[in-house]
């Protein structure tokens, strides 16, 4: 049980770090818009050609 004397203070450090990280995230407004952040990750992954606009149809409409 002696290991507890080392592990519990370490747990305290982890606790402090977790709280500090959480406070930072709140300050960074990461919790302001839960709905959007939940979905955003789904959007960007499927975008291999985002930098290249698809011009094929445009050229058809303006011969």
């Amino acid at each position: 049980m002696d290991s507890l004397y080392l592990l519990l203070p370490i747990a305290l450090i982890f606790f402090g770090t977790a709280v500090a990280l959480f406070f930072w995230a709140v300050k960074d407004k990461q919790f302001d818009d839960l709905e959007k952040e939940g979905q955003r990750i789904l959007f960007d992954s499927d975008q291999p050609k985002q930098t290249k606009p698809e011009n094929t149809d445009e050229s058809q409409s303006k011969p």
Binding site: L8, F15, F23, D33, F43, E54, N55, D57
Partner: protein, 829 residues
Amino acid sequence: MTLACYHCGQTVPKNSSYALNINGANHAMCCPACVAVAECIQQAGLSDYYRLRSDNPDTPKTDKADFTLFNNTAVLRRFSEYKADRWHSRLSLSGIHCAACTWLIEHHLIQLDGVDRIDVNLQNAVAHIVWNPQQTSMSEIMAAIQELGYQPLPDSPDQRQQLLRDELSKNLRRLGLAGIGMMQVGMVAIGLYAGDFQGIDNATRDLLRYFSLIITTPILLYSGQPFFKGAWRSVKARAPGMDVPVSLALIAAYLASVYATMFGLEHVYFDTVSMFIFFLLLSRYLQARLRLGQFHQAQLLPEAARLINTTAANSDSQPPFRWQAIAELVPGDRIFIPPGEIIPADGIVTAGSSRIETSAFNGEFLPQSVTQGCQVLAGSGNIEASLEIEVTASAENSSLNAMQKLLAKAQSEKPHFAQLADRLASRFVIAVILVALISFAYWAQFDLERAFIIALSVLVVSCPCALSLATPTTYAAAITALRRRGIVLRNSLILERLKKLNVAVFDKTGTLTLGRARIESIEWLSPQNEAQQKEILAIAAAMEADSTHPLAQAFKTESENTVSLSTITIFAGEGIQAKLAGLRYRIGKAAFCEKLQTIPTSTTAKQHTGSEVLLVNENQALARFWIADQIRPGAAELISAFASAKMSCQLLSGDRAAAVDALANKLNINHALSECSAANKVAHIQQLQSQGKTVLMLGDGVNDAPVMACADVSIAMSAASDLTRNQADVLLISDSLSQVQTLFDFAQATRHILRQNIFWALLYNGTAIPLAAMGLIAPWLAAIGMSASSLIVVLNALRLNRVRAKNKTNIDRTATALESQLSSNRMAN
């Protein structure tokens, strides 16, 4: 048969040829504005939007607003900050429905040169934009947003909103600390409980207890603050609230645990303290978050007006002008208003003639003609041509401001409903403290230390976690579920109120009707076969194709423009003349067409209340069209559903008596009042309320805002003016009246679940308190019971997500049937 527009989801008019090829597939669209937006999205390489979106956008507006006034630094400063060579601007965007909208706007704007960073918040529909004034301008940014079909407005948050936001993020930090700490303390508590059973040596026990003490202390001091402050406030106000026993229990449990830790007594309650704080904060946080809805600030007038510079020489087309803030306009100033803009001040027309749109004020959907000498009101839209007006009232004395004052008055007179839980709380608090005192007094006769522990466990057990979670979690679940179905609630209490309504009051234009002209029936004035009838419709549509008159819209949706005409002449206020195959045709008012051809008198004129439009050519009179505002699909079903629920329906409108009575007859509404001003409407509703009735109001225009504020429950259509949206308890995003039925179904399910939750929580507390008073509940059992009952309440509330609207499919089906019946009637006539 009916085709939905690929972009906005509205019905595509018959024979419409608007379409766009996206990703190799051809998609039909309802109007050129949709095509323009879709084209813009596609050219930016963002057509993924159509795959990602979960909701259809609003139908975009055709007219492009002039944003140059926002390049003015003084105006810009109202919603922007200048930091390190960059502007940081906040724009409030209307028309944002789902996360795909924010994705679209962000990706489109970041492609713009000079935009460094953009972040669109979905919940409050505000965009933060960081941009470089060297490379771009505010008007370009706003135009780019409008290109996508969204309406940008400057966002200057009011102070109350800002305070609420700060409070919310502070509470989130408190909640986070309590949550993380609770887990640590809870984990250690398991070890301590296990020690109670299996034996544990004192040194280890003390170590674990000191660990809990270290973590619980900041939780109590930081996270627990709101309870102590609240308790102190309520004691000072001599109305003890729930915070009093909560604070007592927290402090007593904490001090007892500290004492037990230092002197090695039997029990510590650190886990209970931190868990209490976490659950109670959670319920408060959920409640506070609901209050911060996605409502825009009312913005009815532009920020500035074009003040005509009288000293400078007149140029040929536009008079020279400079921007002047609205608040600085004084009577006597002359201002210039190009077509498509909102009139910024009350005044008298000094030059030009145009038509202005005043439906927001009086429900009249046909625009009024104005010429020199006519009075115009701030907030009306200028449709046709440039106007010059002389300002007659400063912004403070304008008619729009008068409306806002009426609104403020109506708000203060709104009947208040006390929340069930609040009414219970005060009595419950006193009862709990009494029980704790009595059990302490009783047990003190035998053993003082045991008496303290028992009194404490009464306070701890009674701490109504489940009870306090019951209401906010149920409402939060209902509000989230409703929002997913396109119904936004601003006020969760209305779910409770929806069952006690006696009277439903409807606005006419824009609510029960679409505010859009449509051909109601056609009288053929010379014998025609079906093919000829079709051709006549096509001629009418072609003649009206370029007209901006709202009655002309009725023809555009009816037939495709396939006929090519020559020498089209528009006679303002009378009609249009054109030539086809050498014959002169005229469409318009009877008097105008009669000059070309004699017209037989109408046989059915008495049945019709809409406007009459005639079509003649040099040889014969062709057709008489009756054009009226179109009834919104689902209106009849909703009214009959209300009638069967024993609610009486009334129609209040600012429109003319003939139009109002005709609609009332058609929809079986017995009680209709026409030509009502906003003040009349408020008076009518207050009279109903003084008779003991509770009133539901459905509306959309600016003149409905005060009525919305004083009605017991108010519902606004999505196209409603900002002022009205802000007043409404409920906003229907998808603009379908069948949503009202969904709302009622949901309210019923919510009340049902709420009752279950409160019943369960009371049952738990009711059995636990006597047991604790008898000294039968061990602290660890109390802790488990409390978290289990809270969990049950939360899970039960989440069931609301699975509620389905019972009548939805039914109403939709009847609506489509009714639509097709109407259109076949029209053709038959």
